[in-house]
């Protein structure tokens, strides 16, 4: 049996709109006598580079990747809407592409007429549409509105009708581009059921999506596109795993750059600026509400200076992205111009809403300062970072016992916590579920 979709060495080069090209006119083309040459691009952008993949008949194939990685272009090439610049595509059987739902609807005419015209556009005959008409309308749940002009539809109704028509074309190969994001929960379920039904009937589905969950649950095989090239393909779990890791690396780099920038800004902050804000960590002077003020910055007398702050993962490497439950160490490099006797180190963790998740300092934990001279490093080791998924910011400070700030770094360091469990809140206590024998549950491992 030949594969349903065969993509061999496909490269798709798009023309990039530079200023000059955009204003190319007939006149300029005629004047320079380059009419035909101007129809060719001079500045180009490869959306796909030598991409090959094969989808066997009856398989469900997922394509994942970041925005702009060429997923939609790949789908358009398979659909035949875009022509590959190089390479070739072979598709067996009738193709229906769910790229934009209701793309051919005319707003002025009724839903009924649009169903017919759209069905015919997608390759059905008039009689075939008539035979499926009731089914389409019931699927779209639009029985009461089918004779109203489409312009009066809500966007959800519009999408549902578009989806209903496209899915009832009864394709051998169905191409889906991120269309499940429309519609409410129940309609999404209905769509998934419809996909499952098509799958059972041995139809081939090519799915472009950002929903990694869907790919893992639904697809037999997956492909990860990155900047127009096929990164890896194969078992969806493996592909999704590799993709997530890469995305985290990207985020990590982004956070690192962000933190470097924050540090630079902090370094250039004037030394004498001592705002009226008091120490949120000790909370001695300020009312608690002040502690939640999320204004970032740096202040202090710099008699003791925080020269560097590093976040380290369990392996001792600098990191900005952790998983819930990871070991994390905050390292603070300090330097005292003159030896000091009164000093307290403080740390605060804030979530994205500016809520203090945890704050402590050496004074609260009964350390009495004796002497700090020259340079040194303070480590704050967290055995298990029991936070839920989200972005967090760090306060790092060194000050006197009475709150007089030497160097205060407010919300300058960002890190992110990832979790595969979508639990909510801030703090995740270590926990376990137990059930008495009459209550039976089954743990589904991904």
């Amino acid at each position: 049996m030949p594969p349903a979709i065969e993509v061999v060495g496909v490269t798709k080069i798009y023309r990039r709109y530079s200023r000059r090209r955009q204003f190319a006119t007939l006149k300029s083309a005629l004047l320079s006598g380059t009419m035909l040459r101007d129809l060719r691009a001079d500045e180009t952008f490869p959306a796909l580079r030598d991409v090959s993949f094969t989808v066997p008949q009856g398989a469900t194939y997922g394509v994942i990747g970041r925005n702009g990685s060429g997923k939609s272009t790949a789908l358009k090439v398979v659909a035949g809407i875009a022509k590959p610049t190089a390479g070739h595509v072979r598709v067996q059987g009738r193709v229906s592409a769910l790229i934009e739902l209701g793309a051919g609807f005319h707003p002025e005419i009724s839903g009924r007429e649009n169903v017919f015209i759209n069905g015919i556009m997608l390759g059905l005959s008039k009689r075939e549409v008539a035979r499926r008409f009731d089914e389409i309308v019931d699927f779209a749940e639009l029985r009461d509105f089918i004779d109203a002009p489409v312009k009066t539809y809500s966007s959800g109704m519009y999408m549902r009708l578009g989806f209903a028509v496209a899915i009832h074309v009864d394709p051998d190969v169905l191409l889906v581009d991120e269309v499940l994001a429309v519609g409410d929960e129940s309609f999404t379920h209905k769509c998934l059921d419809k996909f499952a039904a098509l799958r059972r009937r041995g139809k081939t589905i090519l799915l472009v999506t950002h929903s990694l969950n869907l790919v893992e649950r639904f697809c037999d095989e997956a492909l990860w596109l990155e900047a127009g090239t096929a990164k890896i393909s194969g078992d969806p779990r493996r592909v999704v795993g590799a993709y997530i890791t890469a995305v985290e690396h990207g985020e990590e780099r982004l956070l690192a750059a962000e933190n470097a920038r924050a540090r630079e800004d902090a370094a250039s902050a004037p030394v004498e600026s001592v705002p009226a804000v008091s120490d949120p960590v000790t909370g001695t002077e300020a009312p608690p509400a002040d502690g939640f003020r999320a204004a970032e910055g740096r202040w202090g007398s710099r008699e003791v200076e925080i020269a560097g702050v590093r976040l380290l993962g369990g392996d001792g490497q600098a990191a900005h992205l952790f998983h819930s439950g990871d070991a994390v160490t905050v390292e603070i490099d300090v330097r005292a111009a003159e030896p000091v006797r009164d000093f307290v180190f403080g740390i605060g963790i804030f979530n994205a809403d500016g809520v203090c998740c945890y704050g402590t300092n050496t004074d609260l934990e009964r350390f009495e300062s004796e002497e700090l001279s020259g340079s040194g490093t303070v480590s704050f080791a967290i055995e298990r970072l029991e936070l839920t998924e989200g972005t967090y910011k760090l306060d790092v400070a060194v000050h006197k016992r009475d709150g007089y700030p030497y160097d205060y770094h407010r919300l300058l360091y960002t890190f992110r916590v990832k979790s595969r469990t979508k639990d909510v809140g801030i703090y995740r206590p270590r926990h376990q579920w137990r059930f008495s024998p009459t209550i039976r549950l089954r743990l589904v491992l991904e």
Binding site: T25, L26, A29, L39, A79, I81, A103, E108, I109, M121
Partner: protein, 265 residues
């Protein structure tokens, strides 16, 4: 190209429904609806009658009576021709959604434009017929038999030009503006509001003969307005052959540029 052309036959159902949709959508929401297809040419006829009998009497040969009817024989097909081309220049852009998001034979769009305008033209014919009867213009069956042939030639010519224009406008949006001016010039360079007999002999007449729409207009006038047998048929057949060539050339250009549409519209 020929394979695509053969495929076009398969899309006749689609073309049919799109033309129907176009006509339905155009007058949806208006009180008079389809009657506008009749009223528009009727009003046009009244305006021209007024201008040429009250405002500018005597600017036309006396033997052409009623002169408004003479003009109407040319203006009705001209309206079909010119609105088809103007709409065709925009049709791929306004139908961009279809070209970009649905696997859709793009040439259907300009063809539908021309056909929808042809339907409007056909709706105008009863008005024309009513006035022909009212003014007792004698019509002969042997002449009227040529009428479908003239319409067919015009259809082929217009589709050919519409294909070229719609495809090129995707790349050069200026064509839209150039076209509307060109059509105004073209209108006056065609014996529609003046008879061919007024054209200066020699070079002027030869230039008029080079204008394809001259032969369509003269054909309509001879069949519907002038007495006597249809004498222009040789020109019409020649134009028919040329229109066929224009159609194939248009389809060729369209087919060559087809792949660029999805990116450019």
């Amino acid at each position: 190209m020929l394979r695509n052309l053969a495929q076009l036959v398969r899309y006749r159902g689609l073309i049919q429904s799109l033309v129907a949709r176009e006509l339905k959508a155009r007058y949806r929401g208006s009180v008079l609806g389809f009657f506008w297809s009749f009223i528009n040419p009727l009003l046009l006829l009244l305006i021209y009658s007024f201008v040429f009998t009250v405002v500018l009497p005597g600017t036309h040969p006396a033997e052409l009576q009623p002169f408004a009817l003479f003009m109407f024989c040319g203006i009705l097909p001209w309206t079909w021709f010119s609105s088809s081309l103007i709409e065709a220049s925009n049709v791929l852009m306004s139908g961009g959604n279809l070209i970009k998001k649905v696997l859709f034979p793009a040439e259907v769009l300009p063809i539908v434009t021309v056909l929808a305008n042809m339907v409007h033209f056909l709706f105008g014919l009863p008005i024309l017929a009513a006035f022909l009867v009212y003014y007792r213009v004698p019509l002969q069956f042997s002449e009227l038999a040529w009428f479908p042939a003239v319409v067919a030639v015009q259809l082929v010519l217009t589709i050919g030009l519409a294909l070229i224009i719609s495809a090129l406008t995707v790349h050069f949006r200026d064509i839209r503006d150039i076209l509307s001016n060109l059509l105004t010039f073209w209108f006056f360079a065609t014996p529609i509001i003046y008879p061919m007999s007024l054209a200066p002999a020699g070079l002027g007449r030869q230039l008029l003969n080079l204008n394809p729409f001259t032969h369509l207009a003269v054909s309509y006038q001879e069949i519907l307005f002038y007495r006597g047998p249809f004498g222009h048929w040789k020109w019409l057949l020649a134009l028919g052959a040329a229109s066929g060539a224009v159609f194939f050339a248009g389809y060729f250009v369209f087919d060559r540029l087809r792949d660029s549409f999805a990116e450019e519209v």
